[in-house]
């Protein structure tokens, strides 16, 4: 007998997506409910702003220079976020760093989501593969993540692609775990059985019926995975394993650490840490609000 997977707040009783009382499609209904949640809306706005910064970076601040005349200036006129130990403007670094940090997070989580979902859904659909899948997932989850990431990144050489691949490689099992529990329930539902009777095109069944049913879980796990990816990438960059030629939030922290300035130049750690916090916090709150909006109220009390 295996240990039951813990029910998290993400895997709920599955149903075929139905229309609500007004006849609107489930997506619309969720959005309407979401709009009423202040925390969710606020977080969505913040997230949108961050995406805006990513896209509009060149308009917001000049690319950080190689060096500047004033070293380790605290925030003030001319340098709202201060300067680092080479006199470079920290605001520019944070703005341009948003691009890299978001890019890495999105790319890594995209890979992880696609791979993880595919594995989970196929595994749920085909019971024999499922046993293998669940074992591989548990095994990978039991590996010590950060040390292995350090090992691979150190040996493969620090670069953007290494970081993306390493983070993705350690994120997909979590996705599979989340999606699988939902997928397993869905696959047993009557309408899937009915579909199986009607056609032998399994890929069609999976794509048309199973995937939409697990989509809510995927949406939530996108956020979770992306948030973790941001933190992991920043952690790797902090250890010196990120791409040294592009600016990222982790790199600002790394340079602060290696120049011995962390204990005195508080602005060097505060602003990139705030940026990380903002991105992860807003993304996670959006997902929590989405989840609340999706499920019908009334189960709590």
């Amino acid at each position: 007998m295996t240990t039951p997977l813990p029910t998290t707040e993400l895997a709920h009783d599955a149903e075929e997506p139905v229309r609500d009382a007004r006849g609107a499609r489930p997506g619309r209904a969720t959005w309407r409910a979401f709009r009423k949640l202040p925390l969710g809306v606020a977080s969505l706005v913040v997230l949108a702003l961050l995406v805006l910064v990513t896209v509009a970076a060149p308009l917001l601040a000049p690319y950080p220079a190689s060096f500047g005349p004033d070293v380790l200036l605290p925030p003030g006129a001319g340098h709202p976020f201060g300067t680092d130990s080479l006199g470079r403007d920290v605001l520019s670094q944070v703005v341009w760093g948003t691009q890299q940090s978001v890019l890495v997070a999105v790319a890594a989580s995209a890979i992880a989501i696609v791979v993880g979902t595919l594995v989970a859904v196929v595994g749920a659909y085909v019971p024999r593969i499922d046993a293998v899948v669940s074992m591989v997932v548990d095994l990978t989850l039991s590996l010590p993540v950060l040390p292995l990431m350090i090992l691979v990144a150190a040996l493969a050489g620090p670069s953007t692609s290494t970081v993306i691949l390493v983070v993705a490689a350690f994120s997909w099992p979590e996705v599979t775990r989340l999606v699988r529990s939902q997928a397993l329930t869905v696959v047993k539902l009557p309408y899937v059985d009915a579909a199986r009777l009607m056609t032998r095109r399994h890929a069609w069944i999976i794509g048309r019926h199973v995937v939409p049913a697990v989509t809510p879980v995927i949406v939530v796990s996108v956020v979770v995975t992306a948030s973790r990816a941001v933190l992991s990438a920043a952690g790797l960059a902090f250890l010196g394993l990120g791409d040294p030629t592009t600016w990222s939030w982790g790199r600002i922290l790394y340079e602060a650490q290696t120049s011995g300035a962390m204990g005195s130049a508080w602005w060097l750690t505060l602003f990139p840490s705030l940026a990380i916090l903002l991105l992860v916090l807003s993304a996670t709150l959006v997902s929590i609000s989405y989840d609340d909006a999706r499920k019908p109220r009334g189960a709590g009390r």
């Binding site: 190689s66 080479l86 030629t245 011995g260």
Partner: protein
């Protein structure tokens, strides 16, 4: 709830019991002693763990600092790079293939046995025989054998004339006690972990306690004639490991450590100097930072291209910003100013002139085209773990771009960097040497074809002839003249682009004084004589 509570309690109890077994007991005899009453404890911080206690093996800075307090060197180094007496009082050559050392007769090992020429000769012969992997072995190429001809005189036989080897072996050779090392077989395998009776050393302190990854405690050796008082002032020295330099700095500011052994990042030097309770000491640099251009690359084989690259670097910006003014120009010569005998004042540094770079490239037949960029691209490697080099690598890339030359940066972690360097897997090499004390040896290794650090892959018969002649010249003045000629050739042909020599700064608490700084990070304020002389500032009553 009960089984869970019982389980939790059982777990907690077992953890506590396990911990209970861990509490260390005071070593024998330590309880009566109070170090504070008799000189105090000097606490030194370092960022790398001390992992190896055999001074003949390895090349880690932290290891050398600790073993340096126990095992003496024959020679030390003065602020101008010339060798000074330490264990050896005098040294020289009796003929072209024989060298000699006269050592002190008043040194004893901490177990009471006297340190004699026999220990010195035995150490050298053992290193030659077993070839342990370290800098000492690297000096032994022309060494054949050593013999103790008296209690204080050692004579070494060479396989061919070599005018530097006596001083090089003298400086890099740490002497170990024969009666402790010989029974252990090969010195290349002996871990010297202090099993059994602990450690035996002849320095001002001897290791007594090792807490791996945390602290290394050394107690005073009561007989150290190299300081006037005959023994060290401090009763005890503790090396503490702080992997993060920021934590290290906090520990110094809070008074938990008294000295930071690793050199300070340039941007922190001024700040710390202004901090109450902290003093900053300057340590002469004995090394240099440089770039070499791989002459196996068809474009870089051309002198005009190398010259163009040399003129595209903003040397002043690097020294002012990256080093915060703490680096000196060597006038683009590998004979640094600190080597006052060798340094040639009449030379001049490559001028930062991007226009000149463009002209040189065009004269070599390259066409920049409408975009202003020449159709060449060079890959430059640099060690990521060195923040200073990482920073100026960026400036070099920017400067070259201004001159229309594309440099692609490839920063890698230390081991990959070492591997790439060994295999010649780069177009431009950026790096630094910490100790280049003997120009002769350095030139041989750097500019002779097949030299161990000939990263530019140069094979210039004229240069080779100059260096080989200098190796066989025992007359100092003639040797210097030859070396200067060689350096001029290196600079003219850009076989090496020396950017700066960096003076280092170390910080210590205001509560301690009496340090004797010596050049290079290897010695700095943590060399044995300095630690032995350091004492607490007397409290005002």
């Amino acid at each position: 709830m009960r089984p869970r509570r019982a389980g939790a309690t059982a777990a907690a109890v077992s953890v506590v019991l396990a911990l209970g077994a861990c509490a260390p007991q005071a070593p024998d005899g330590a309880e009566g002693r109070d170090p504070e009453a008799d000189g105090g404890t000097l606490r030194i911080a370092t960022t790398t763990d001390v992992v190896n206690f055999n001074p003949l093996i390895g090349n880690s800075r932290s290891d050398s600092w600790v073993t340096g307090l126990m095992y003496p060197r024959l020679l030390s180094i003065g602020d101008d790079g010339s060798k000074e007496p330490e264990l050896a009082l005098d040294w020289g050559y009796s003929d072209e293939t024989t060298g000699w050392y006269e050592i002190r007769d008043d040194m004893t090992w901490s177990d009471g046995r006297p340190l004699t020429a026999d220990d010195v000769a035995w150490t050298m012969n053992a290193v030659k025989r077993d070839a342990p992997s370290g800098t000492f072995t690297g000096q032994m190429t022309n060494f054949e054998s050593a013999e103790a001809v008296s209690g204080t005189r050692v004579e070494i036989a060479l396989t061919q004339p070599d005018s530097s080897v006596v001083e090089e072996i003298g400086f890099w050779g740490t002497i170990v006690p024969r009666h402790v090392f010989e029974p252990e077989g090969s010195v290349a395998d002996f871990a010297n972990g202090g099993d059994g009776d602990g450690w035996v050393g002849a320095g001002p302190f001897v290791l007594t306690q090792v807490r791996a990854g945390q602290s290394y405690t050394l107690e005073r050796h009561e007989d150290y004639p190299l300081v006037a008082a005959g023994r060290a002032a401090a009763a005890r020295v503790v090396y503490r490991v702080y992997p993060d330099i920021n934590t290290e700095l906090l520990a110094l500011r809070s008074g938990e450590v008294d000295v930071i052994a690793n050199s300070l990042p340039p941007a922190q030097v001024a700040r710390l100097g202004d901090t109450d309770g902290v003093e900053v000491a300057e340590v002469t640099g004995l090394g240099y930072s440089h770039m070499t251009y791989d002459m196996d690359h068809p474009d870089l084989a051309r002198t005009e291209v190398r010259r163009a690259l040399a003129h595209a670097v903003d040397y002043d910006a690097i020294r002012d910003v990256v080093l915060q003014g703490q680096g000196d120009s060597t006038l683009s010569s590998p004979l640094m100013p600190v080597l006052s005998d060798y340094h040639d004042d009449s030379g001049a540094e490559y001028e930062h002139d991007p226009e000149l770079s463009r002209e040189l490239m065009e004269s070599a037949g390259y066409d920049a085209g409408p975009g202003g960029r020449f159709p060449v691209s060079f890959r430059m490697i640099y060690p990521l773990q060195d923040p200073v080099t990482s920073q100026w690598a960026q400036l070099v890339q920017d400067g070259a771009a201004e001159a229309g030359i594309t440099i692609e940066l490839q920063g890698t972690e230390r081991n990959t960097y070492l591997a790439q360097t060994q295999e010649g897997d780069y177009d431009i090499y950026a790096g630094n040497f910490a100790i280049m004390d003997d120009p002769m040896t350095n030139f041989a290794l750097s500019y002779l074809p097949g030299g161990a650090i000939n990263y530019t892959h140069v094979d210039d018969p004229e240069l080779t002839a100059l260096i080989e002649r200098a190796a066989r010249t025992f007359d100092e003045e003639a040797k210097i003249a030859l070396m200067q000629q060689a350096a001029e050739l290196v600079q003219a042909e850009v076989y090496d682009n020396v950017l700066y020599t960096q003076n280092l700064y170390v910080a210590h608490s205001s509560g301690w004084t009496g340090f004797v700084p010596k050049p290079s990070e290897l010695l700095s304020v943590v060399n044995p004589v300095s630690i032995a002389s350091a004492h607490r500032v007397p409290e005002r009553s």
